[in-house]
Symmetry: C2
Amino acid sequence: MSHTQVTLDHKRHSLSHLLAQAVVDMFPEAKLAIGPTIDNGFYYDFELPRTLIPEDLPILEKKMKHLIRQNQKFEGHVEPCDQAIQFFHKINQPYKAELVADLKAKGETEVSFYKNGPFLDLCRGGHVEATSQIDENSFKLDRIAGAYWRGDETRPMLQRIYGLAFENRAELDQYLELRKEAERRDHRKLGRELDLFSFSENVGPGLPLWHPKGTVLIEELEKLAKEEEFKAGYVRVRTPHLTKGKLYELSGHLEHYKASMFPPMKLDGEEESYYMKPMNCPHHHMIYSATPKSYRDLPLRLAEYGTCYRFEDSGALFGLMRVRSMQMNDAHMYCTEEQFEQEFIGVTEMYLKYFKLFGIEKYVMRLSLHDPKELGKKYIDEPELWKHTEEMVRRAMKKAKVNTVEVPNEAAFYGPKIDIEVFSSIGREFTLATNQVDFAVPKRMNLVYTDENGQEKNPLIIHRAPLGTHERFIGFLIEHFGGAFPTWLAPVQAVIIPVAEAHEQYGKEVQRKLFEAGIRVELYASNESLGKRVRHGETQKVPYMLVLGDKEVEADSVCVRSHKSKDQKTVKFSHFLKSIVEEIQERKLNV
Amino acid sequence: MSHTQVTLDHKRHSLSHLLAQAVVDMFPEAKLAIGPTIDNGFYYDFELPRTLIPEDLPILEKKMKHLIRQNQKFEGHVEPCDQAIQFFHKINQPYKAELVADLKAKGETEVSFYKNGPFLDLCRGGHVEATSQIDENSFKLDRIAGAYWRGDETRPMLQRIYGLAFENRAELDQYLELRKEAERRDHRKLGRELDLFSFSENVGPGLPLWHPKGTVLIEELEKLAKEEEFKAGYVRVRTPHLTKGKLYELSGHLEHYKASMFPPMKLDGEEESYYMKPMNCPHHHMIYSATPKSYRDLPLRLAEYGTCYRFEDSGALFGLMRVRSMQMNDAHMYCTEEQFEQEFIGVTEMYLKYFKLFGIEKYVMRLSLHDPKELGKKYIDEPELWKHTEEMVRRAMKKAKVNTVEVPNEAAFYGPKIDIEVFSSIGREFTLATNQVDFAVPKRMNLVYTDENGQEKNPLIIHRAPLGTHERFIGFLIEHFGGAFPTWLAPVQAVIIPVAEAHEQYGKEVQRKLFEAGIRVELYASNESLGKRVRHGETQKVPYMLVLGDKEVEADSVCVRSHKSKDQKTVKFSHFLKSIVEEIQERKLNV
């Protein structure tokens, strides 16, 4: 094995051995379970004579560094299963014995061991050759957690130690810094601190209640999308949040999607059950087919701010990122094959426009394709149409000059799709939006138009939601902006801070003028200290604080403190008003 | 009995006797059932040897006029029940015999008969003295319908003849004209003709699908309300369309309101059932109580465009007037007792502002009060609080200088309310909106604020929905405007009609400029005749048609045809653009 083949995974794996070795050194009676690598390091599970405390971690770390410096070699050998089981029983390591017994039951005859220094562990291998290949400053024991043996709550609860490990100290520090920043930007934490949303035990998990300040975010996004969609020739519809099951028999949802749906409701006096909608498409298709359509009506772009409901297991719910009620800026475009390319490019361009507006600089568009082996199972059985449609999408993306990564076997059952991953300003990845082609459902639901020659044809449908669900998108934006939203989006756009009571009247006048210009403005009255009020405006991440004292009252001016630049300057109030109105109207990202 | 006591009801009742007399004259074997008065005339149910045809009605009418001219007197007498039963059996009138038998079973010993000319009928009385008191041109037989005897579908199906009757011919004609106008303005008919909404068999009854043109109406109302509410200091929230049952146990909905709610949903892995929300209040209360509140936070005005779901029997559903999904411009104001009056007046003034905006000239505000006898049953058992709150509302309405009609025993279970009835431009009455006081639920749901002295207190809540449900309000507006909406509300605000192909390019330019100004504009291309296109714009009730020919192209002008005034005049395009933008911005009612 040459040095160039030593991967980060090898180092992490080796560190987990060193951790076990250090633990055994500290607690000779420790019983060892498993110690795999994970995406930021490694962990190891132990049964120990006492509960670990945070203070144990530096001690163990020190021991590990000491072991690294010994430049221990990793050496492997194999043994028959029975012998290994016997061995582990003898040294009182029942978890290891159980692991070997299981491998034996699966047909293995031998298992491998690795030894570093005096420490011997059951192991598949994948280590450094010697511990000198590990930078002793590249790792850190991170935290202690409980974990059931084999994840089974009827088995013993073990103690898990997590370690972080990277190539070197710089990378470790960078990771720690990023993590700290991500914690500061955590959408659940900021959601609470900025009073954006909450969950209620009485309402139920995964069903966010949007407080006034969070609702501003949703409604500003809605306003943006309405304006952009009006310009792009969309029309809007509204549909109920439920439907008879019959609609989902027609659309195929009951067949393909039932597990993700809320359970049926049985109404008095009606035979059929009702379901809450997990998607808007079938409702839109009913509006499409409510009146006869001709080629002159296409492309028809139906948009809706619909709320959909999906059943997620309560254990899978997570803040705004995984919820049961989802507000969506959704739309379906019904078009002819000739119109497809332009429509698809139009949608892609709308995505790019939004990314720019929100300062999303890094994104990946994945073209999810079908898998010919799954035709008639996972995918509608139309091999030619699949090839044809995928080629159409490829061509459109090429024309839009957007790079795509092709991923087989990830399409929707009715056609290929573009999945978009964006990266927040601190580099975290979020899957936000999709743009899907549907060549199957129009036929299935008998959606038609009359072409120039009087022939009935099925339109193609593009399903698109460039902002994804608002819950997830707002969760993303909270992290992306760290709660310091651009002024047009900010729940409170300006606060007025009169220095003393004498300045309150002027403050109210300024407040009224801003309010009349449609600005979301608050006044922090002078019954609290100036410092406290400024700090509050700061923690609330309000874009502008207007501090008003004698000088300002006299000169009809405001002392503007910008949250973004931390600048402070005194300007005429009329000047400030003009500039904030413009900043909001143009939805500026930076000032 | 003096002539001054002859009421319209007496006349209608007498006419129903004359109808029966005419029917018996035509079909001597007719068996008579009942013949009451109704709010536009009367009807009578018969068992007849053949099915009536529309042509029978003028014949019967003629016979009735003949009987009127005979100046028959109405004379009453009583007979013992048994004798009456025997009599009706003898003359083969089994329905009448059954009616008397029922009266006897209820304890009556005698029944009254009235005779006019040779015709004798079982009757409680209430007639004209003589048929000369009836204007023979004041009535009209209207239509034939089927009706089960006693409304029971297991009993025989009878034939019902409806008659219209008023004081005189002029009133009858006025009624007929109004009815014709109401039919022309029927919201279901116009909803179809103007492509506003539809219902789908696959989605379910009472669940409207809002087409693009109908959605414009909803979203313009929403925009209006958002603007007005921002000005009035409301903040907005968003809440899910469902909740755990626990919330409705706390709020009392499950106890008081279950029959009007959709049935429960049982989720995998959760013990409690979920319900769709029939009202937004409890969700808003959860937002109120999500963070601690002090007197400084009050009044807090939480507004939401919520969609609520109520279970109405499918037989009770009617167009947009009675639906199962209801979009609501809802809000709850949480305030102290000192703030109550001003808040209540503020709400009332918002109603009046809306009425003016929509040209609603006639309305009635009813103050619905509790009934002391129903305390602890229909109403929360707080006699002093009831008196106190009702007096507060009375005082507020007086201060707002709004006349109210007091109606006992119509309050909500938690407090008194104002119900508002409005009249459309053709005089039809609609119950649209309510404004309710709630002094009970805050205590029940433990909603509190800390007052100036650090004491916990319950706020008062005002529930208000000045536009009622959007479904019903739009149904009302369709009738009120006869589908010819004011420009700001019109789904299509202007259509462009180039006279010939040569004018299309100019047409497109005009279209683009209007579109860029945010106007909803369509272009009717020249491949159809000018007359046909103008007629289409006319039936679609588009506020402005811009006809463009040589003269207009040359002079950069448009020939504007106003739907409202039917005027036609040529003006510079820039002039038209300025005036339509202003008309929309100011939400003008008339031009």
